[in-house]
């Protein structure tokens, strides 16, 4: 089962934000979406998660049109973390993460265990009782990531689960970038499908099974990072000259600009 976009287009006030985009996120795989600013990556995520409705085409989750899932059932299968979450109220970190348990009725004690585990997974246990409003950008982002993890912590009988992340590593230092990638790979091993928008091509190349390059509202290329990342494509899409090398250890493509 999968999260699928079928020939979707999105027109808003005269602009073609998305043109005929098709992609599928299989269970247990990691899909990275890259592309220049304003290419429509965030619009694609909004359509994929049901926040916006495509002008034409259809999005389906586990073989059923996304819009026909009951909101609560959808929330049990699909966790979404936007780029910025503004939260001006002094929740503690564990309270924020506990919000991810809202769609599930698993009881307080179980939720507490899951919240603690999720915080531990993102290396944020020490933040547990700290106020969200007083955290640094990177700490906030980790707590939000933990909230997303808590939302899909356990499998559901409804279908496969998916996690959608919009630039999850933008505020992270090197070690937490690496940690995020490990978490994402771990989720994929558990059968969860992950979609994320990334800016760092090398980060994307290192962890994605499927790399989608986006340019002016359409898919310029998609496939495994090895196939997709070429010097020609990068100069075409990003307008930057580059050299593609091989990472000496991981053997993944390495973009040097």
């Amino acid at each position: 089962m999968a999260l699928m976009a079928d020939n979707i287009s999105l027109h808003i006030s005269g602009f073609n934000l998305l043109r005929d985009v098709s992609m599928r996120v299989e269970r247990g795989t990691v899909t990275a979406i890259v592309g220049p600013n304003g290419a429509g990556k965030s619009s694609l995520l909004k359509v994929l998660t049901g926040e916006m409705t495509a002008t034409t085409g259809q999005v389906s989750l586990n073989h059923q049109p996304l819009s026909t899932w009951a909101l609560e059932d959808k929330a049990k299968m699909l966790a979404v973390l936007p780029q910025h979450t503004v939260l001006n109220f002094p929740f503690t970190a564990d309270e924020v993460v506990a919000l991810g348990r809202i769609p599930h009725q698993t009881g307080k004690r179980k939720d507490e265990i899951i919240v603690a585990d999720a915080l531990k997974a993102v290396d944020a246990s020490y933040l547990e009782k700290r106020f969200y409003t007083q955290m640094s950008g990177g700490e906030k982002q980790r707590v939000q990531l933990a909230r997303g993890l808590a939302q899909i912590w356990e499998p559901t009988q409804l279908g496969d689960q998916f996690l959608v992340l919009d630039e999850p590593t933008s505020a992270f230092d090197l070690s937490h970038q690496k940690l995020t990638l490990e978490i994402v790979r771990g989720l994929a091993e558990r059968g969860i499908g992950v979609v994320m928008v990334l800016h760092d091509l090398n980060l994307a190349a290192r962890c994605a099974d499927n790399l989608v390059v986006f340019d002016s509202g359409a898919i310029a290329a998609q496939g495994s990072p090895d196939e997709v990342l070429t010097e020609r494509l990068i100069s075409q899409v990003f307008g930057v000259k580059s050299i593609i090398a091989k990472h000496p250890v991981t053997q993944k493509p390495l973009v040097i600009t």
Partner: protein, 322 residues
């Protein structure tokens, strides 16, 4: 008990006890004391209790709904709208309301409800665009709506006759002195309704603090929750404005203070605010009756005088902790 004893005529605790006992044994010892206690003070205390709870819980809900700790029924024009609605009914309906009939009262309350509802919707619509609800726009829209409401109120006062004018100005000062049992019955009903329905949405309110689309991704039917909360808030504020006029600060400061004390989780915040709001208004009203005895101060002045220093103290204490 304390509130029952305080007033222009001081009644000792023993007398109150005696009077309460007298109710059950049906040999009322002192009919004057009984009248003061059960026909004047008790309804007034109950009114203060329910209105305080309504104002504070509505304030807490609005702050959650607008995702802004500054949202307050009076700050965003809702109280203004409600007071215009009430004034319109008084002026239009003319004489028959003063006869004190419960029907007339409900008409005024309905007017206040409609006014408050329209103002809430207007402010919300103006402040909400595709990207979400903008706080700045909301406050500005509130000021605009409040200004229009003020102008309409002045206009209505200008055309009103003396009796109507008295009624209108009574509200704007925020006064509980008009308490009687039929009013109490109505306010108790509204308070019970809100206390029953608001807490059912506390999880949704918690999720809404993250943002509307985030709440939707957590499985919350945001549109429905929003509509329900706005209607209930307008009902609460409308009733309170119709009964006691503009009692400011309770809706702003009480939820704020409770949030500082126990955190922003709505499952505790809502009942906590209701309780604290009730206590604050009872104390404020008791003081309002005695500080300048034999006359009275408008209660609204005292809620501000009592609430604001407490709030400032909390702010200072918090700052030291950080």
């Amino acid at each position: 008990m304390f509130a029952m004893g305080t007033g222009t005529v001081n009644i000792s605790i023993a007398d109150i006890w005696h009077a309460i006992m007298g109710l059950f044994s049906s040999n009322s010892a002192n009919s004057q004391i009984n009248t003061i206690l059960f026909d004047i003070r008790l309804p007034r205390i109950l009114l203060a209790l329910c209105l305080g709870a309504i104002l504070a819980i509505s304030g807490a809900v609005m702050q959650g709904l607008f995702r802004n700790p500054l949202a307050d029924p009076s700050l965003i024009g809702v109280s203004g709208g409600a007071s215009v609605g009430a004034s319109i009914v008084i002026v239009m309906a003319g004489g028959w309301i003063q006869n004190g009939a419960a029907l007339g009262l409900s008409a005024v309350a309905a007017g206040a409800f409609a006014g408050g509802f329209i103002a809430t919707i207007l402010v919300y619509r103006l402040a909400t665009s595709q990207i979400g609800t903008s706080v700045t726009t909301m406050l500005l829209a509130g000021i605009a709506i409040g200004a229009i409401a003020g102008a309409l109120n002045s206009l209505l006062s200008y055309f009103a006759d003396n009796d109507m004018l008295r009624q209108i100005s009574l509200w704007q000062m925020g006064n509980l002195s008009t308490a009687n049992w039929s009013r109490v019955a109505m306010v108790v009903a509204v308070a019970a309704l809100l206390a029953g329905l608001f807490p059912r949405d506390s999880r949704a309110l918690n999720a809404l603090l993250l943002g509307e689309s985030e709440a939707r991704h957590l499985g919350i039917d945001v549109q429905r929750v929003k509509r329900r909360l706005i209607v209930l808030t307008a009902l609460g504020i409308g009733t309170s404005v119709a009964m006691a006029g503009m009692i400011g600060f309770v809706g702003l400061i009480v939820p704020h203070a409770i949030r500082l004390l126990i955190g922003p989780d709505h499952s505790w915040l809502l009942p906590g605010s209701a309780l604290a709001g009730a206590i604050l208004l009872i104390i404020a009203d008791s003081l309002a009756r005695v500080v300048v005895a034999p006359t009275e101060l408008p209660t609204g002045i005292l809620t501000a005088l009592l609430g604001a220093p407490f709030f400032v103290a909390l702010l200072i204490q918090r700052r030291r902790e950080i």
